[in-house]
Every structure is written in structure tokens, then in C-alpha cells.
Symmetry: C2
Subunit: 454 residues, 2 copies
Amino acid sequence: MQRTLIIDALNSEAAQPTIALCGWIRTRRDAKDFSFVEINDGSCLTNMQCIVDTGTPAHAGLGDAATGAAVRVTGELVPSPGKGQKWEVRAQHVEVYGLADPESFPLQKKRHSDEFLRTIAHLRPRTNKYGAMFRIRSEAGFAVHDFFRGRRFSLVHTPVLTGADCEGAGEMFRVTTLEPGAKDLGEDFFSRQCNLTVSGQLEAEALATGLGRVYSFGPTFRAENSNTPRHAAEFWMIEPEMAFADLEDLMELGEGLTRHVVDHVLTHCENDVNLFDSFVDKGLRERLQHMLAAPFARVSYTEAVEILQKCGKSFTFPVSFGTDLQTEHERYLAEEHFKKPVIVYDYPKDIKAFYMRQNEDGKTVAAMDMLVPRIGELIGGSQREERLHRLEARIREMGQNPEDYWWYLDLRRFGTVPHAGFGLGFERLLMMLTGITNIRDVIPFPRTPGNLEF
Amino acid sequence: MQRTLIIDALNSEAAQPTIALCGWIRTRRDAKDFSFVEINDGSCLTNMQCIVDTGTPAHAGLGDAATGAAVRVTGELVPSPGKGQKWEVRAQHVEVYGLADPESFPLQKKRHSDEFLRTIAHLRPRTNKYGAMFRIRSEAGFAVHDFFRGRRFSLVHTPVLTGADCEGAGEMFRVTTLEPGAKDLGEDFFSRQCNLTVSGQLEAEALATGLGRVYSFGPTFRAENSNTPRHAAEFWMIEPEMAFADLEDLMELGEGLTRHVVDHVLTHCENDVNLFDSFVDKGLRERLQHMLAAPFARVSYTEAVEILQKCGKSFTFPVSFGTDLQTEHERYLAEEHFKKPVIVYDYPKDIKAFYMRQNEDGKTVAAMDMLVPRIGELIGGSQREERLHRLEARIREMGQNPEDYWWYLDLRRFGTVPHAGFGLGFERLLMMLTGITNIRDVIPFPRTPGNLEF
């Protein structure tokens, strides 16, 4: 008979004379007259409790299957007398697909450390915590697509392989088909140096100047040799670009996206969020709800610097106009001063990228960062410099050659428009949504220096 | 005032005294008393026609802006007396953001070849054809997410960077942070060889054996040095994996996904599909509708070979049991014999991968390919070998070392389950949906040997 997912069985309107469920055994307790077996199939956090009476064919079918074994249980769906679950299954038939030897199966019914679970990343999706994590990851991803489509953005796939080596080349991965040791780039696949992208922005701008509103959602890469809980060599970025839009529109977009994803996850992942609220980050749910309760704060960089200078707190890094905000400053603003997400805008031009639009004051650019409690920077973006001569001059000021940007400058040469975009690190968003503090634990198979297993 | 997207203006229920539109000029015709200006903002295929009366401030604002210029038009939305459009705008104010010098702007009002447009891939989204293409790409992408979420699959991001070098290593790109010429892998970022993924399948299997049903949708890479209209070095793949599922479930999933995306695109991209039906591939719409009209055909490999042997057609490659089907055979089956998509299943084990589940006949594996008219193979998948000893034996038969697959074999060691999955090349799907015959023209910035521009 057709199998039912546990989430659907748990949401059943009525008892059912026969139902078939599949899953992995999470716990088994043997009493004299029956065994309690809880199974989980990944469709939700909650297990289905199955009662298998001793001496029945079902009990014989169950055999000595214990934690980790994969089973198919057919039985009657009946109201559960126990607490905490509405339904349970009285097993009529049990089939074991695969046992899990208790001596060697690494996941036992106890708390395992995150460090240990990273060494068995192929099995950790079977734990409550990582199952919840990856379901939230999936729903947050869907919410991103849903949000942008609702605003008529087109999803675009910007390339991962890129010839751009102008910006921060030291932190890029090189891609090659040459044997190790060979160095004649003329013989290489692309007949020139190829890198893994650090951002799809420039290509997204090209697409936005035809399609109007676009967003990319894909992997990006940084070859930073730093082992921190906030850095991974491979992570996913969301990068919208809007033609005919200014910084104001961009701030509204960033706030709208963040609110939409938070709201979607609170609505669609209630049990999974509760797990993190209970066991990982007390107060998580309330903090997320608080984010939705009022508009985000907005403050210019100049005002932000004044707040930080006057706050009486001693920071490791001193702050004055022209310095980049550090995570300690970003977190102070969001967590202590505003006590909610805050968008800081109009940063000094000297600490920002060449493509950001210069303001009339000659000192600042139309950039914005969204800072959120616990995380710091979640979003970084700007209105883009659409004036050809200003952009060319800025490229030269940075000691680069405008010819390397021929096609990017074409976008300003032909029908240039005010436009704006940002980048949002998807893993940072997930850390905010779950309270998880190590980026390695929101990525199924994380890549960090020296770590390439699985 | 707040700008309106052209698609929303075109769908307006009523005339409006003032409306603001932005866009790029597609055509301009000057008459004695007024200028006709058609603008497009990428939100849809259709332009908005604007009437700018000679001698008005609006006409002065328009100046000599022509094809390619970016403008903002404010005016009255009124019923259009002309054919083919319901509304037009009588301009009250025109602002030009950016001109496009007619002498140097490469996109003029004429038909450009696809080959030429590839050399200006940063501008081609401004043409009707590529605008339509990328809107279909976006909607098809959304339909994929929508379909899987509706069936309770979790979206997973499998890694792009991989240490796997067991399968077809010759066609993989290598990733490194070493300088060209250096070869001490111990000094490399991951202290070992790193490649770009050719498939997320093995990782997706690990996730499916915790989450139950998962799919990945991400970039994959092949370093094949072949310049054909069907191969790109970087393309996007959709790879679902289902625990507790067999080949039958997999065939149903592949057919369901294909039908869902076709139906979604026909419904949501009507004008864009009509463009391809009229100018690129006559009969496209009817062919897509025909796909929805009846169930897809299903035939075993053995039967398919018999059909091909008896059909009386002379193929370049002869067919007999044990040979791989070539594109000519696949297209004959789908286009001429069945005249619709056909799923071929139970292929000889010797031409298929080690992880496919062996059938009891000892000769075949539970593999399936979905073949569609014009394209050939759209989907390739299989039930996976879940029996530990059979899988280990098969790895050894292929001359490989089971220890290299330690974590993949763990999935069979602990709670193994019948499971199945497939890969669908997103660009092939787009070629099917548009009639475009060169893969370079369904990717915003395609990567092929020697081509890494933009």
C-alpha cells in the first residue's frame, strides 16, 4: 500500500484502519507485553510512536532492530493516550530494510557535540538538531524565491567560473585543467586564468539593465585561510540588482526580504524553530518576533560613528569617521543601542568599493549595510555608480585599467540608469534564524582550510 | 511619484490620470506633430507605446534620445486607438537617464544573429528574444522549487568543491590556491586535490537518508574539451533523491516534474513562449501542449532495442543489447516511434554506473532515462544499490577501492533503505521549453573551451 509521510499522518483528521509509514528508529523501549518504537522519516521533527505487541508477527518482523535501523510499519492509526502526541500506530506488520549495529553506529540516543557530528556530516541529518536545521534551510531558501518572484524579480544564474582577477585576487580560488606543476595558461581550458567567483554582482548588473529586476542565488567562494566560526570557503549568496532604483529603494528591499524570510520560517517551521529556542539559543523565537514588530532602524554612517563615540563603551578598535565598522561596533549598534536590525548608510568612499555611487558631499558613497543582533553585517549593498566618467575616474584612482571593465562600462555607455543591489550571505541568515554560532553547522558539507571530506 | 512596471500598466483595469514608467527605448518614430516612443523595462515582452507631442516640455525632455536610451516617462494612461495594445501613455514629462549613441550602440532595430549576440552577452538581455529566454529561465526555476516543495522535498545545497576524484577524473576541473607551476598539494588550500563537482548525487543520498526527500539545484562542471551546441563547461543540474522509493516512484517523479514545469511555463510565460513559437521553433507551443495531453510512454531498454532494430531506419551507430543508446536512437524513439516523451528503464549494468541497483536478472540495473523529442535524454537516474555487499563488490569490480567511499558505504551500513534519484540538466529543459538549439543561448554568460569573457 501507498506509504504516508509522518507529517501527514500526524496531521490526520481521523483515525485510520491501515496506514503504512517508513522511517528510521530513533528510540525503542521494550516492555513485557509490547515494544515502543519511535520512528522518524525526516518530513518533520516529531517522531511517530508505534506500539508493537510481543508475540505478534509484527514483533517478529521487528526482530532486534534498534536505533538507526530503517523500517516500514503498517498498522492502525489510533488516538494516542500518551502525552505530547495526538496519534500513534498499533503495528500489524513491520519490515526491516536495514539494521544499524549498535556497536558501530555512531549516533546513539544521547547528546553528541557539534564537533563530533562534523566528523560524521553524512549522518548528522538524522539527528533532531540537524534535521531541523536543514528543513529551516530549505524553507528559508524557498522564502527567498517566493519573495523576489512576488516583486517580479527574475532569477538569474551568474557564472561561477570567471576571468575577473581585478578585485582581491589573492583570496580567489584558481580553476585549471592543467596537471599540477604545469603553468602554460595558453594550454589551459580557457586559455587564460580562471577563478571561482566571489560575487555575481557585475553580471547581475548586466542582466538588470535588460530585465529590470533580477536576483542571483548561488555559491560563492573565498580562499581566505582563516579558521573562524564565521568563514567558509564555499557559501551561498543572494544578490538582487534593480534598475531604476536608488539607495532608498534598496534599503526597503533589504528590510522587506529579511522580514519576509523571518515571517515565513516562523510560520512554516514552528517546531523546528522551537527546538533551537529550547536547546540552542533561549529567546530566539522572541527575538525573531521582535524583528517583525517594528520597522528597522536607519542611521547614517556619520551618525553611527557619533553614537559609538558617545556610548561610553570601550571597544578593541577605536572609531572615527573614515574607519570601517568592526563586528563589535555593528553588534553594539544592533544589540544594545537600537535593539533591532539597523541599516547604516552613506559610508566614507575610501573604505568602499569602486562601483559604489559617489554622493554630492565628495566624501561618502550611497552604500548601505544591514546589521542584525548576534550576527553583525547581514547585508551589504549600494546604489551603483551609473555615471560613466565618474566610474572610469574611480577605476583609475584605484590603480586599475578601465579596459579590463569594457563590458561593465558599456552598461553606463548605453542607456545607463540609476540602479542598486546588495549581497546577503545565506549562511549568516540561517545563523540568525537558528541561533547556531558556527557557520560549519548550517552547511550540509562545509569547506574550510584543510577540510574537504564527503 | 512611484513608478509602475510596464506589465502592471498593461494589465491596468482603468485609465489613469498620471502614471510613471521607466524603461529603455526600443523604437522611436518621429511624425510632424508627435513622436511615438516604445519603451521596455524587462518586466514583460510587450513595450509600452508613449506619445510625445511636438513642442511640449516632454518633447524637449526627450531630446534626441533613440533606441537604447533609458528614460522615465510620466503621463496619462489612456486607451490606445492602435492595434495590438490596450493602453498607451500620453507623455507629460520625459526624463532621459542615459543616451545610447546610435553610431556605437551595437543593438539596432534589426535582426542580429545569435553568434553576434554572444559577443555582447552583457547587452543581449535587452533584446526581445533573450529577454523572453531569461524570463522563461526564471519561471522554470521557480516551477522546480514549487514542485518539490509541494511534494515535501527539502532543498539542499550540495558542495561544489569536492575531493572526489574517483569517477571520470579526466573531465573534472581542478581547484587550487597554489601559484601556476607549483605542485605540492600539501601546501594547497585543502592539503589535497580539490575538484569542481560533476554531480551532487552522493551527498544528496546522505541527506535523503536523514531528511527523506531532498533535491539539489546548483551548478555542475565538466571539463570536456568539446565544442558542441549541447555542451557547456558550467551548467545547472536538478538532482532529487528519495528515501523509501523505488524505480517506479522515480519514473513518476520525473514525469511529474517535467509536466509541472511545462504547464507552469505555458501558463505564466504565454507571450514569451509565443515569441519562440513564432520566430524560433514553429509548433513549439503545440508540442509542449501535446506533452501534457497524455501519459509519457514507458518501455524497457530491451524492448527499446527491439523497436530500434525492427524500425527499418539506418542509424549511424548499430544497436544491440548492451550498447548505449545514442542521441539518434533516443530522438527516434521519442520523436518518431512514440511521438512523445518516453522513459526507458532497466539498462544493461555494464554501461551504467556502479551505484545503480542490480536487478535479479543479473544483467540489468534499475536505471531509467527520460527521452524527449528534439533533445534526447533529459533525465537520467536510477534506484540506488542499497545492499552493502553488492555495492562493495561492484566498486571492486570497477577496479576501485571501497575505502575511498567509506562514508557513502556507511549509508548502507547503518539503516540502509531502498532509495532512488535522478539528474536533470536545467539547460536541456530550457532548450525543450524554447526550441533554442544551442546551449550557449539559454545561459546568461556561457562557459565553453576558451570562452570566459564577462
